[in-house]
Amino acid sequence: MLATLSAAMLADTSGQALAHASAWAVFAVGATMILTGAAGVILLRNPVHSALMLVVTLFGVALEFIDESADFLAAVQIIVYAGAVVILFLFVIMFLGVDRKEAIAAEPTKLQKPLAALMGLVVLVEILALSRVDHWASGAPAQSGLLNGPGDNVQKLGQAVYTGYLLPFEMTAALLVIAVVATVVLSKRSASTAEPTGPDPLEQAEEPDESEVAL
């Protein structure tokens, strides 16, 4: 009996170790996808390639959501971001015909890239330093519901949205309507005032070179 008990305990601990290892593996794969995709978005010359690398990053973020047991958000991340937003990006890129390589050397502002890299480094150091110097959690109990409470993720999320967060939810509905109307107005106005032929003579002096687009 002792032998079976110890065997069961051994199996239990190995199961825990397996779960632990798989959580780390999912985290590592997601982190690799996120960083690779972000580097691709920044560094690749072709906007279409950048948009596709953005998809890689978004899938990596969805993987991390699954690893943190935010199941519904992982699904929404893939459907809304990878399914709608990136498709919109790609549609605009193809519609405007800018899917060509950009020139590397076109840099009207001197020192833009080194200064930008320096600023990025400063931002990273600041975030990491700030996260070390203070306690961000107040220790107050959750107002909108427990993450580990009864029910599954979607149920708890829905209850929080439709009870405590009802007013912000209604405001997002208004925001979406405003965005749609604004887009229609922008498109119509620029269609009626756009000059189909040639560039404006007033701006001929600063017309960019056709063959290369600034990075």
């Binding site: 709608a84 990006f89 605009v92 890299a117 990025g120 931002v123 961000w136 269609a191």
Partner: protein
Amino acid sequence: MSVPSAWYLVLAAVLFTMGATGLLIRRNVLIMFMCIELMLNAVNLTFVTFARLLNDIGGQVDVLFVLVVAAAEVVVGLAIIVALFRRRAAATADDIHILKG
């Protein structure tokens, strides 16, 4: 227990930094928009991590709202970019002034 929260927070910080750096480096408006999406995703990752850390569903609700606002922002931003392209065949950040009424 799964991966400690600090790893997710550092990953989100690195992703946010890459988005901010890309926003400063690139001059193509479309790429700058994608870099804003990168930063929004870093913030979403932070929200979800703190939701798990503090056992509070509010972090995940905030991510839902960020998703909605990001969708609306992309729609309006791309409309502005299309309007910019109709005036000129290149869309760098320096050309925004030609949209002045």
